[in-house]
Symmetry: C2
DNA sequence: ACGGTTATAATGTATATACATGTTTTCACG
DNA sequence: CGTGAAAACATGTATATACATTATAACCGT
């Protein structure tokens, strides 16, 4: 009620996180099913002996995380568990290999500067005849091929790339550290290995491969298109998901 | 500054969202590269003619979204674009089929109640001899097989499932609407079709298939394990990502 | 110089208050 | 008896203030 002024560290953590934790627990445990109305801001404030502002901030955070929906006059309600979204971490390949406790290496197999063909324009939104850099490189785990990377870099957006040899640094890492981007689109498929990729990766022709394609845009237009091809029987993507789980 | 008291709707949107937008623009455009220190709370407050609390809330939100890192005494800094996380939406299969403008149907091919074997316990954390429901069903788009679903349901956690026939409602949709969950783990692989799955899906043996496995936990333990097998040449997962992009 | 204490700068959390905004309920008037 | 204006309600946004926390900087005596 009267509210003993600010945090006196009575038990553990801040009031904010205590309230947040309690509400999340009620929601995630199913104790409060979707559609259930949670206490009003003023009631929460009374219950925890805090101001409405504090309760408001907690509820606002839950709403941003998608766990609840808020309606004026009506109150706040537990959301339906909407489409199952998973945070898919696509690691840096070097990190991926090292996570397997294997030595990492890569080999540049192709580096060509040319103008965009019609086929390239399917992958990246490019003007006709726009200059691009076409790279292919093979990532190795220990002695064995791990992943084949085929990449197009838009030289209109990233002119610095033309001066780079990509002999010492993989193009992915180089781009990440130099070029800002703000949107990426991924496409994940299972495809049979073509004769070419089978040779590069040292697998049987038509073997199942996991193919991940990524297109990236920056403020000044399309940046890069990349296709990673992994031997399917040796690789898996893993994604973990907790609703409302912010990146701590 | 004196700060003209609350929102007088001078231009557009709230002060909060204007500041947020401005900062995001600076960061995403690369204008402020990773490591760059952004203005202190008090400076932002002065600049926008608002109180420090307002600036603080904006910065706090950016920090939660992972765009910036904050250090006491030092200030707030643009984060390194860490591991590329993409929000991967795994749609409901029915929605997926309808998005292709095809008729949706499903057929239950197997429904068995049994106790967990050692192999089942690899998929789901189960006690030895725990009762489970073992389901297989085929999802159809138009007349053609679209996806094969193989599912284990933990009857210890979801006893209601035993009374359900799953003839009218697909097990995925049934579970979503009835059983609360709080953690899911996905595994995505490319695998060659086994003889069985090839027959079910009407594809060639050894054809590349996209396999998505999901394990789900609720408050009272493991809920379900499911494996979706899609003919690889006919299906792709698509994920779009914008850093700091909250679910509106 | 060195190492420890003190000051200071920046963020973190919380309060009380004020007014805006959008819904729902109520109630009075025709 | 309906309908439209007014009141009540719950959230949304913003302010000013206070004190806590913590990392860095400044100081200071030995």
């Amino acid at each position: 009620m009267s509210g003993e002024r600010h945090a006196s560290a009575e038990k553990e953590g801040t009031l904010h996180s205590r309230i947040l934790g309690d509400l999340e627990r009620h929601i995630l445990s199913g104790d409060w099913p979707p559609g259930h109305r949670l206490p009003f801001e003023v009631d929460l404030a009374t219950q925890y002996g805090c101001s409405r502002m504090t309760a408001n901030k907690v509820l606002t955070q839950l709403a941003r995380a998608g766990l609840i929906e808020r309606r004026k006059k009506s109150g706040s309600f537990v959301s339906q568990p909407v489409g199952q979204a998973a945070v898919l971490e696509i690691h840096d390949i070097e990190a991926e290999v090292r996570a397997l406790k294997l030595a990492y290496a890569f080999r540049l197999e192709k580096r060509a500067r040319r103008v965009a063909s019609a086929k390239d324009r399917l992958h990246l939104e490019l003007a006709e005849g726009a200059p691009i850099l076409d790279l292919t490189c093979l990532h190795l785990a220990g002695e064995r091929p791990f992943c084949l990377e085929q990449r197009l870099i838009n030289l209109a957006t990233v002119p610095e790339a033309e001066a780079e040899t990509f002999l010492d640094m993989a193009p992915g890492a180089w781009l990440i550290s130099r070029v800002p981007w703000n949107t990426a689109e991924h496409r994940i498929q299972a495809l049979a290995a073509t004769a070419e990729t089978a040779t590069s990766l040292g697998i049987a022709r038509n073997a199942a491969c996991l193919v991940i394609e990524r297109r990236t845009w920056g403020a000044s237009g399309p940046v890069t298109f990349v296709r990673f091809t992994y031997p399917g029987d040796r690789h898996a993507l893993v994604a973990r998901f907790q609703p409302g789980g912010e990146g701590a």
